[in-house]
């Protein structure tokens, strides 16, 4: 026993050349990936140092660090002297959290409806139709929404026909969040339901048979068998989405918002984009906001993973 253990430990250092040679073809295959992640993920990570400088592109990161090191000034600016930032942060959390909750509730509802539907042909057709919007870009959706909900659009025409007055949905602060949540449900609910449907298909039929013998109604079976059956999946998906709360969907907001609704619609990513590329604020500030976002997201993931493991669910890390 002991001799083999020692032999193993030695071989870790001894046969290095041999082990590299053994793995040479796999190393050749992995080399592009190492280069790719190094360039496109790790260099930007090193680039976060820009957050501690007043950044000048012509000096590069090292030059800016040497000549324009500002310490935590950029962070102090966004937290103390930028009233817009705190509002943006609030919007981001509201939209990000709201979307997670609404998205999972709607996906589970759609999955339940399709699962309980007892007309096979319609079931297939319905599934093809409702999953399709997932594959459209937010550019296309913005086109639909801009025309449907404009003041000359069909939605306003219907409101007028019913005796109401025209509402400019996309330019009205009171309606914008609803538009964001509703369009997200329209695009994703059908597609996200698939994962729940797959889980439901995996629930043991014996449970339903036993419930039948006990005389359970369909609603009771849904409540006591189907929903508990998808609980683990739902929790896992929730955990996975928590890390993305602060992302809140750049593509969607960016294609739908306009200056009239910035106050309620602006999220961290759109704010970073506008500050850096439209308002030409020093890139150091944008980097600082991005770094803040990354750190908070990372802490959130760790936190949720911890909570999930403590409560006996499967974690992710």
């Amino acid at each position: 026993m002991e001799t083999t253990l020692i032999a193993k430990k030695q071989s870790k250092w001894h046969g290095l050349g041999k082990r590299i040679k053994q793995a040479r073809f796999l190393l050749l295959m992995i080399l592009p990936a190492v280069a790719f992640y190094f360039i496109f993920s790790y260099i930007p990570m090193y680039g976060v140092l820009m957050a501690f400088t007043k950044y000048y592109p012509r000096l590069g990161i090292l030059g800016s660090l040497q000549q324009h090191w500002v310490g935590l000034d950029n962070f102090s600016i966004i937290f103390n002297n930028d009233p817009e930032f705190l509002n943006v942060l609030r919007n981001t959390v509201l939209i990000g959290l709201g979307k997670i909750i609404i998205a999972s509730v709607s996906a589970i509802t759609v999955a339940l409806l399709i699962n309980e539907l007892r007309m096979r042909r319609f079931k297939k057709t319905a599934q093809i139709i409702v999953t399709f919007p997932h594959f459209l870009s937010w550019v296309v959706l913005a086109g639909f929404i801009n025309v449907l909900f404009s003041s000359t659009g069909i939605v306003d025409d219907i409101i007028v026909a019913l005796g109401g007055t025209r509402i400019n949905f996309l330019a009205d602060k009171n309606f914008f969040l609803t538009m964001i949540f509703a369009s997200d449900v329209w695009k994703e609910a059908g597609w996200s339901s698939i994962i729940y449907l797959a889980t439901m298909a995996g629930i043991s039929p014996e449970l339903y048979e036993a419930a039948d013998i006990d005389g359970a109604t369909r609603l009771q079976k849904i409540w006591h068998i189907t929903l508990p059956g998808i609980k683990a999946t739902a929790i896992l998906l929730l955990i996975l989405s928590v890390g993305g709360i602060l992302s809140a969907g750049f593509d969607q907001i960016f294609n739908l918002y306009n200056p009239l609704v910035y106050e309620v619609a602006d999220i961290l990513d759109t704010y970073i984009y506008r500050q850096t590329f439209t308002n030409l604020v020093n890139p150091g500030i944008g980097t600082a906001i991005g770094l803040f976002k990354s750190i908070v997201s990372f802490i959130l993931v760790l936190l949720v993973d911890r909570i999930a493991k403590l409560s006996g669910e499967r974690g992710i890390i």
Binding site: V34, V139, I145, N146, T199
Partner: protein
């Protein structure tokens, strides 16, 4: 009994129906579910329908009809303009380049990486794996990325929409799990026959994973078809802009009414709707036949990931 015969196919279904009792009647709850789903399906279809109606109605009808629920004063002017638009065809061409080149490029790098990481212990595997996992939880953010791309000389070149997308971590892990699920004996016997890792990959594992390759390839293809973000950030030359970006600029100009293909006095709503169909019709045609591949992708990913 007579009531049951209304849906005779239900009695034969060995599927879900039998699970919940074959003898259950098609009752109130079934009707409720059916009605809700029909409404949902209509809500999904309606924007497409409305867009289509607008695209083939005249501008006069659009602005003057109280309720444009069906096409009025049918005209195909919008489509004529779209099909004559240099801008859109150019965007279409760029998008086709992305679709072919980008998808092949992404598949190649994602699959070889997935394969290498699916093999048992080899020198450096854990290091690479950790290196990749870290990027899933932490990133540098937009601004450093922007300056990286600029300093790589990719700014305002078509490559900016292809090169940075080489590996999609999620799909790569999907591929890795798939390769790992294939029997190890395949590798061992090929090795006895004197094959090296690359030969084993190309001759043994790749042919076995074609369905999975198709699924991942489709996801990449859709991603490339829909791509606009990197183009918006890094492209200035109008001729390099992909279809989605051209469309995005058209939509943005509905409000401000600038530079529509076909001149300033064109019916912009109709034109934009026609351009949307120009963009999505290829996908609408293929989707019903490809849906099961997409579904397979996420179901496999969910169970194994």
């Amino acid at each position: 009994m007579a009531k049951n015969n209304k849906y005779p196919q239900l009695e034969k279904l060995p599927l879900r129906a039998s699970r919940k009792g074959t003898n259950a009647r098609f009752g109130g709850l079934d009707i409720f579910i059916f009605v809700i789903l029909i409404l949902y399906v209509i809500a999904v279809i309606f924007p497409f329908y409305n867009a289509f109606v607008i695209s083939i109605s005249s501008e006069y009808a659009y602005f003057n009809a109280d309720l444009l629920l069906w096409p009025q004063e049918i005209t195909f002017d919008a489509y004529t303009t779209v099909f004559a638009s240099q801008q859109l065809w150019n965007g279409f061409g760029i998008t086709m380049v992305l679709l072919v080149l980008g998808t092949a490029y992404q598949l190649f790098f994602t699959v070889i990486t997935g394969y290498a990481l699916s093999r048992d212990k080899w020198f450096g595997k854990n290091f690479v794996m950790n290196m990749i996992i870290v990027t899933m939880f932490f990133g540098g953010g937009l601004v450093p990325y922007y300056y990286l791309i600029t300093s790589l000389g990719l700014y305002d070149t078509i490559w900016v929409m292809i090169i940075p997308g080489a590996i999609d971590t999620f799909n790569m892990l999907l591929m890795r799990n798939y390769f790992a699920s294939l029997p190890k004996e395949l590798e061992e016997s090929a090795r006895i026959d004197g094959a090296n890792d690359i030969q084993i990959f190309v001759k043994v594992y790749l042919p076995l994973s074609l369905p999975m390759l198709a699924t991942i390839g489709l996801f990449f293809a859709v991603g490339n078809w829909n791509s606009w973000y990197n183009g918006m950030l890094f492209l200035e030359t109008a001729n390099l802009k992909p279809l989605q970006l051209v469309l995005r600029e058209m939509i943005a100009s509905i409000a401000s009414n600038i530079e529509m293909p076909g001149g300033p006095n064109v019916y912009s709503e109709g034109l934009v709707m026609a351009s949307i169909f120009f963009t999505i019709v290829p996908m609408m045609c293929f989707y019903p036949f490809l849906q099961r591949y997409f579904v397979k992708g996420i179901v496999v990913g969910a169970i194994k990931g």
